[in-house]
């Protein structure tokens, strides 16, 4: 059995809530040993976020928390207690990476800032992921995925032109841009450390990866002094491109036409009396009559079952996709099943519960969540005895005295 790609990498993780925990989960699923430092005095608020197993709230029952914390071990340390800080230092002494997504200054106050830690571990890679980064006038701002989406313009650019912005309906930057960029950055620093022995500090403002993924508005303004607006489902190079109703309640299909052949094939399937559509033979011509074309298509697609229509269109090479919801994806999607996307892991309190597998497969071995999310402090004894050199009696005493809680 080959080692996982990140086997042997040791991470002490102070991340909580969204993007930070997702970052270290990606690394943990790829084999890194991630110790999540928590405290019952100041809970990761994602532990108190719905959904809960059986609909019953509890610190070990959130499915949202679980999916963001697979393959990690959890310990509890009261970082307000100097003995707790000393134990944290002992864990960090021989680790590769310390991660956090607090506001700037918080880690320093807890005694685990970059300067203090790099003294005890000069090769340490340290990443901070606050909303606005470590420096600058707005560094202390508190942020969530949705406010980052607003600040970066991503929310404002997303939606129909004639109505208010709609974004993704989620805290999008938390789930892809920030975890992926932070995980990539940490691995860049790991490679650098392997070649030079040097550690370093990574300062990732959570606004900046999102901005790096939407270059066009700023470049358009800078180059052409044009301020772009919302365009709904339309996109240059496609006509038509839209989301159309199908049979069933609130069921839709997305169709994107980027060639005249695709247009002819779409017409052939939706309306065999092709003649009526012939005047729209070219993309340029179609682009002029989009509202009329969209309503004609919608009238036809409404008569179809979405999956049946998707199959017919895809047979001809026309890009089409049913607007699937979580139930479709979890219960029915044959491609998700083929790729073993959904993983059911046994959790001590939640039972068999659902996790995302990764969106990539390695030919040499299976990768993905290795074990379910930890209970709060589940690995206290194991970690404090093997990694911090404490005896069972010492651990018990420090817990009773409030240092390891």
């Amino acid at each position: 059995m080959t080692d996982l790609p990140l086997s042997g990498v040791k991470i002490v993780d102070f991340c909580w809530i969204g993007a930070g925990s997702y970052t270290t989960k990606l690394l943990a699923d790829l084999g890194a040993d991630v110790i999540k430092v928590e405290s019952s005095k100041s809970l990761d608020s994602l532990r108190l976020a719905a959904p809960y197993a059986g609909g019953i709230a509890g610190v070990n029952r959130s499915g949202y928390f679980a999916d963001r914390n697979s393959s990690k071990r959890s310990i509890t340390i009261n970082m307000k207690d100097p003995r707790g800080v000393e134990i944290a230092h002992n864990l960090i002494r021989d680790c590769d990476v310390v991660a956090n997504n607090f506001r700037p200054g918080t880690m320093e106050k807890l005694g685990v800032g970059f300067d203090a830690l790099s003294e005890i571990n000069p090769g340490l890679i340290y990443i901070g992921m606050s909303m606005n980064g470590d420096e600058g006038p707005d560094r202390s701002m508190l942020g969530y995925g949705i406010t980052i989406a607003a600040l970066t313009g991503f929310l404002g650019y997303s939606g129909y032109p004639e109505r208010g912005p709609t974004g993704t309906g989620t805290n999008y930057p938390d789930h892809v841009p920030n975890p992926c960029h932070a995980a990539f950055a940490i691995m860049c620093a790991l490679r650098h450390k392997r070649r030079t022995g040097m550690g370093q500090k990574i300062d990732m403002a959570q606004t900046e990866p999102m901005l790096s993924l939407i270059p066009t508005p700023v470049m358009e303004y800078s180059a052409n002094k044009r301020v772009i607006g919302r365009t709904g489902n339309a996109l240059a190079g496609y006509a038509p491109r839209g989301v159309y109703p199908t049979s069933g309640e609130d069921r839709w299909i997305a169709i994107s036409i980027s060639s005249d052949q695709q247009w002819r094939d779409l017409c052939q399937i939706l309306e065999p009396a092709l003649g009526a559509y012939a005047r729209w033979g070219t993309l340029e011509r179609r682009a002029m009559d989009i509202p009329e074309i969209d309503s004609l298509i919608a009238r036809k697609t409404a008569l179809w079952d979405g999956y049946e229509l998707m199959g017919k269109l895809q047979e001809k090479g026309v890009p089409a996709g049913v607007v699937q919801n979580a139930r479709d994806l979890v219960d029915d999607d044959p491609q998700m099943r083929h790729r073993d996307h959904w993983r059911y892991l046994q959790h001590a309190e939640m039972g068999d519960s659902l996790y995302n597998g990764p969106p990539f497969q390695f030919a040499s071995q299976a990768v993905g969540p290795r074990f379910a999310a930890p209970l709060l402090g589940e690995h206290n004894d194991e970690v404090f005895s093997t990694r911090a050199g404490l005896t069972t009696a010492e651990i018990k005493q420090l817990q009773d005295e409030g240092a390891l809680v």
Partner: protein
């Protein structure tokens, strides 16, 4: 070895089209030598709007100039024997090969390339993965955002779902591809063992469903789009020079309302005692109207930045709904010198573009060279070394 470049010495071949390029960019910007292999017609990304002065040409696409900066360009016809030979030679010297929707993808046999170079990491990005019932399906961003389950949550309940700006689904595939690729490269450098990685864009989008899958599995509820349904104090609100997004209550059960109530009290906003009332419930019927009656007169008399600064002082999550102009003059982004200009020699001139998504204290992100002209480094067959011929700064 200067020691200041994180991915120095890493040799990457990029066979991309309308996606795959951001994966290569993440490597190039951290110092890898990335060679973009194009057909004689040029990468499809060169035809991607918008263009400098709205004039399409192979060198004036703004997206191409962004996504291909720091890369070299060579041309090859992979459908010929000579092209195949060149590809094998280049791949035998490479550490990573990224393959997405390159126009000649059908001519690239990753298994054979990997056999010829067992240490090579090959990353294949496709709409649905390379095997399975949907593996032959075509996909663009919109149809993949639909099939990946993110689209169903975006928009108003009374009209068709509406996709997020900027083809984020395709970019999600690129980002996860980069994470998987670098993990495999780290192992290959340590052990000599390469890898073949199969990335599904649909599945990359599924990773963005927040708590929707677990909400269905654990509580049997299916999340839908809800842009107009209001939890009081959450959403977009008008102010004197635009709009702000406010999340007065935070998320989860972290009650941020206390902070918000203190802010409003400090500003002596009429009616604000409502928010510190122990019975205040932001989900109660009428709460949204009550909230607006108090907050809107206050917000409409202030600018986006004044409200943002107030939120900063009082620990309330609020943010301006920024325009491109706002971003280019944002004091925080200016302080961090986030936006950079296209390097000298760029076909689009000194245009502003996004810069470093992360700041490294020792081995930083760097924009070194402008996006290349088509085949600026000749034919793939003539390439003697995948390392950059120019030494890095």
């Amino acid at each position: 070895m200067s020691g200041a470049i994180a991915l120095e010495g890493l040799r990457v071949l990029e066979l991309s089209g309308l996606y795959g390029a951001y994966c290569g960019k993440l490597f190039a910007d951290m110092g890898a030598s990335v060679t973009l292999v194009e057909t004689a017609e040029g990468s499809p990304m060169r035809a991607k709007a918008p263009f400098l002065a709205n004039e399409p040409s192979p060198d004036t696409s703004l997206p191409f100039n962004y996504f291909a900066a720091n890369k070299r360009s060579v041309v090859a016809d992979l459908g010929t024997e000579e092209g195949q030979k060149a590809l094998f030679t280049a791949a035998s010297r490479a550490d990573l090969l990224i393959l997405s929707d390159h126009p000649q993808t059908a001519h690239v046999d990753l298994e054979a390339l990997r056999l010829a170079n067992p240490g090579l990491v090959c990353t294949r990005i496709t709409p649905y993965g390379t095997s399975g019932p949907y593996s032959g399906y075509k996909g663009d961003d919109l149809t993949l955002m639909a099939m990946g389950g993110l689209l169903t949550m975006a928009g108003y309940p009374d009209s068709a779902p509406v996709v997020a700006f900027g083809e984020q689904g395709l970019l999600a595939g690129d980002q996860f591809a980069a994470v998987a690729s670098l993990a495999a490269v780290l192992r290959a450098e340590a052990t000599g063992q390469g890898e073949i990685i199969d990335v599904s864009i649909q599945e990359a989008i599924v990773m963005a469903l927040e708590n929707a899958a677990q909400t269905y599995q654990l509580e049997g509820k299916v999340r839908k789009r809800s842009a107009s349904s209001a939890r009081a104090g959450t959403g977009i609100f008008p102010c004197s020079d635009g709009e702000v997004y406010l999340l007065a209550g935070g998320i989860g059960e972290t009650a941020m309302w206390g902070s918000f109530a203190k802010w409003m009290a400090s500003e002596e906003v009429t009616g604000c005692e409502l928010f510190s009332d122990p019975d205040w419930n932001d989900l109660a019927p009428g709460a949204d109207e009550a909230f607006r009656a108090v907050f809107l007169p206050f917000a409409k008399a202030r600018t986006k930045d004044q409200l943002y600064q107030g939120g900063k002082r009082w620990g309330v999550p609020i943010a301006p709904m920024s325009t491109a102009v706002d971003l280019l003059t944002n004091p925080q982004l200016l302080h961090r010198q986030y936006f950079v200009t296209a390097p000298s020699g760029s076909a689009i001139g000194p245009v502003a573009m996004p810069g470093a998504p992360y700041k490294f204290s020792v081995s930083p992100w760097a924009l070194r060279t402008a996006a290349p002209g088509l085949g600026e480094y000749g034919n793939l067959a003539d390439l003697t070394d995948l390392q950059d011929v120019q030494s890095h700064d």
